[in-house]
Amino acid sequence: MTTESPSAKGPSPKAAKTNRLGLDLKVYKGLDSTLCNGCGHDAITHSIVKSFFEYGVEPHRVAKLSGIGCSSKTTAYFLGRSHGFNAVHGRMAAIVTGSNLANRTLLNIGVSGDGDTASIGLGNFLHMVRRNVQIVYIIENNGCYGLTKGQFSATADKGAVQKGGDVNKMETLDCCALAIEMGCGYVARSFSGDAKQLGALIKGAIAHKGTAVLDVVSPCVTFNNHEGSTKSYPYSKEHEDPLHEVGFVPFFEPTEIDYPPGTTKSLDLPDGSHITLQKLGHDYDPTDRTEALDLLHKADRQRLFLTGLLYYDESAPPMSEQLNLVADPLATLPESKLRPPPEALAKVMERFR
């Protein structure tokens, strides 16, 4: 199993030495992973490191946030020069809502698990999405609680078999469908073993304004990689069905997009970058909300593992714009902006006389 996943520790052989900011890849790395060998999460960590490096994000502008669980530990394994916050189980959504209010200029990346997001944290997650908080929200979805030894989470598929033999009889909870219902403008599903697709989706999410939800199936090699699991490496590799081939064209590398007509769709991102979606077996339009929900319902009924960009809509204003916040971070406003003048208090007092 250990050979199934690239290591979070190793550098990518294809990566350029420095990025557009002149920073080395190692600046985007963190501490060594303490997860099990072969954990899908480490592959995602690697994709995050590579994507932030390739996009050229200034590390100090990033806040890394997580809840509690195996997935939530991974924020320590990337972007060592960024502030990190490993919060309370299921409550990263609330934490990032607050930090986004305090400093709207930060680029937030949140890493959560399926238990953290879909079970204990579901309510706060949905409300974060409703508010359109600025965040790249990655769910490392292995269908179980790894850190407490393999109990089912709410994303376990109906009929999936636990390591001990129990069968999940309840409906599965689809975070992507819920995110679309809540108005999320960037919803993707991917697989930790599909680094190329995942990297493009993360970079697209970095460029997106507002909440971007990436539900990434990430097998738990210790507790959910057996026969009967629907989140194992063998199952996921066999069943992954990409809707399209996802590419990312960054704003700083203007490229003529020249594909044969009708084969590729290009989506504009707010920073001038593009997501390209090259047609594979499906004829799918990710800008159609109804079609997206239909597709997810069909995938659920037919047990399909469809990956790619499920839904994109750049029009929803992020929370900071909805609240009409000043451009500067609230966190660093000077006292002159924080305290109204004495006359203002005197005027208010008059109303109570």
Binding site: L65, R91, A93, N124, T332
Partner: protein
């Protein structure tokens, strides 16, 4: 129609002299009939006559239909705590009439609406039956509005009985309905009709009368929640996250309104603040902590059930050392309890909120003015101490009407605490997030977004080293926990000092806090009249400092007055001073009603008689 108080006084000079400027008026109505407006008008009319006054609303957890009572106490000496017995009672509610009549003290003056007169079966009351339902018809053509308008008529009747200046009544109506001219007109007509009817049909009271004074000049009437909201706005709050709950909601709503009015950038019109109504209290405190972590001055306000939900996050703020402010407007628990009644029942819970060894500084305002000052101070202390700071207020202070001096502008500069800038980091050349470099146990922090390679650190609720790296090592865990205890001791020196009032030769000390203050002051005067001298320390924060220790040591016995069953602050004081524990006793009040002076006097007398 206006009759001055002096003329009135003269007209009753042949009868027994009525008590002047000392009256408790209670009005019993049905919730949702607009009686709150009438009661506020009654209170303000007396206030405008220069007589100290308070207004306490005893309302049900209901929008329409259940009984509700409002008490106005006017007292020339300024004793405006709740008093048990009403001198004047207005009975308008069929639901409560039997109990209302039974509850009155002998001799009380009862104004009863005609339809309820048959329920009045006591000969020891001075009863005035008023045909309100008939009187309202010519005044209010719209039958649907009559049940609202009828309430202002009793204000007119009381104005006649107690010699309240009708000019002040009509002025107060104009003020109450400043944005609704038609409502002002109809209410004025109704009040005058009530007054004129009473003048023609009833004698002025020979028991009680009100005479214009000069004791409310330069005073305001305000609710503690409004005051606390202003404290947050002028204290430089930048993020407010909240979830609706009685009796805290009005604080957050007032805060949002004031922010909208006062805290927009004059050039762009954009907000220098953010207000979010969260999906629950888990989220509201989570948002506050996330905002505090990223450098906002962030607060939430809630009440008991919300405090329970915030418990896990409180421990994170304590252990990860993140500034956060929770204002707890206490109501009655356990469980849903009495959501619209008052207690000080969260003191112990909030002090130790969360699992493990957790304790939090608490500011305890005793007046609207302190609600204003301490709300601002809480924001400063949270950033200075890098921890969760509570402000403990309650429903009586928060939602009832209190007389106060107008608030004066805050003079102390906003304190942002120990935050390192890129220039600081460049100069120092190293950064250890949880290291005690100054000997006060308060470490330095950096904010996310700080452009320096040394700035980043990893915040976690798990065990960590001084450098904020993960550690399960016993020595790291214990050292950190011990530093947090030292930081709590630093807090003792930064918190507001208690207020002490002394009497000569007193061996009895009284300690009280929050909304009990007014009742305790009145109780001390009552005790002094019986030659029982007491000293009084009003606690304004926890943990205690040296003044409280000295006060306890200096007295034979100390009575801690608190509005809960389990003597919560008494217990905290006993733990702080185990050697004096037997001398620290409690006077407890926990019926859901605001504490009254007689209860304090009785509580002390009973225990003194036994010792």
């Amino acid at each position: 129609m206006t009759t001055s108080a002096h003329e009135r006084g003269a007209s009753t000079s042949t009868a027994a002299q009525p008590v002047v400027n000392d009256v408790v008026i209670t009005v019993a109505t049905s919730n949702g009939t607009g009686s709150q407006s009438a009661n506020l008008i009654l209170m303000r009319s007396i206030f405008q006559m220069g007589i100290p006054v308070s207004g306490k609303n005893m309302f049900p957890s209901n929008i329409q239909g259940l009984p509700t009572w409002f008490t106005v106490r006017a007292n020339d000496d300024g004793w405006v705590a709740r008093k048990r017995d009403a001198d004047v009672f207005v009975a308008m509610n069929v639901e409560s009439i039997e109990d209302d009549v039974a509850s009155l003290r002998p001799g009380a003056l009862l104004v009863v609406t005609k339809s309820l007169a048959s329920h009045v079966n006591r000969a020891d009351l001075e009863v005035h039956v008023v045909p309100f339902d008939d009187l309202v018809v010519p005044v209010c053509k719209d039958a649907k509005l009559r049940k609202m308008v009828v309430n202002i008529m009793y204000v007119g009747v009381l104005a006649h009985l107690l010699n309240i200046d009708m000019k002040e009544v009509t002025g107060a109506i104009g003020r109450q309905f400043a944005r609704k001219a038609s409502a002002a007109a109809i209410n004025t007509a109704a009040a005058v009709a009530g007054y004129e009817w009473a003048k023609a049909n009833l004698p002025s009271s020979d028991q009680r009368t009100l005479v214009r004074g000069n004791k409310t000049q330069d005073k305001i009437i305000i609710e503690g929640n409004q005051a606390a909201a202003l404290g947050l706005v002028f204290g430089g709050l930048t993020v407010l996250a909240w979830y609706p709950i009685t009796p805290s909601s009005s604080l957050c709503e007032a805060c949002a309104d004031y922010l909208d009015e006062l805290r927009r950038d004059p050039e762009t019109g954009k907000a220098t603040y953010a207000v979010v109504q969260a999906e629950d209290e888990l989220a509201s405190i989570g948002m506050v902590i996330g905002a505090g972590w990223a450098g906002a001055r962030a607060a939430t306000s809630t009440s008991g059930p919300g405090i329970s939900l915030m418990s896990e996050f409180a421990g994170l703020a304590y252990f990860a050392e993140i500034p956060a402010v929770i204002i707890d407007v206490q109501r009655v628990g356990p469980s849903t309890g009495l959501p619209t009644r008052v207690s000080q029942g969260d003191m112990w819970k909030a002090y130790h909120l969360s699992h493990g060894d957790c304790k939090h500084p608490m500011l305890i305002p005793g007046s609207p003015q302190e609600c204003f000052e301490f709300a601002a101070e809480a924001l400063d202390l949270a950033e200075r101490l890098q921890t969760l700071v509570f402000m403990m207020t309650d429903l009586d202070l928060g939602m009832n009407s209190w007389m106060s001096p107008p608030f004066v502008p805050l003079t102390k500069a906003v304190d942002r605490g120990k935050v390192l800038s890129p220039a600081d980091l460049e100069r120092v050349g190293k950064f250890a997030r949880y290291k005690d470099t100054d000997g006060d146990a308060i470490p330095y922090r950096t904010l996310p977004g700080t452009a320096h390679p040394l700035a980043a650190y990893f915040t976690r609720g798990t065990g960590h080293t001084e450098e904020a790296t993960y550690s399960e090592k016993p020595q790291h865990w214990k050292a950190n926990l011990d530093r947090l205890a030292r930081k709590f001791d630093t807090a003792r020196k930064l918190l507001p000092r208690p207020v002490i009032e002394s009497a000569s030769g007193a061996t009895i000390g009284i300690i009280a806090f929050g909304s009990s203050d007014m009742a305790v002051k009145e109780a001390r005067a009552m005790l002094a009249a019986r030659r029982v001298a007491t000293d009084y320390l009003r606690l304004r924060a926890l943990p205690i400092g040296t003044e409280v220790r000295d006060f306890v040591r200096a007295h034979r016995v100390v009575y801690v007055v608190e509005q809960n069953r389990d003597a919560q602050v008494t217990s905290i004081l006993r733990l702080e001073m185990p050697e004096r524990a037997p001398a620290i006793r409690s006077v407890l009040h926990y019926s859901g009603l605001p504490i009254d002076a007689q209860s304090v006097v009785d509580g002390i007398n009973e225990q003194e008689a036994m010792s």
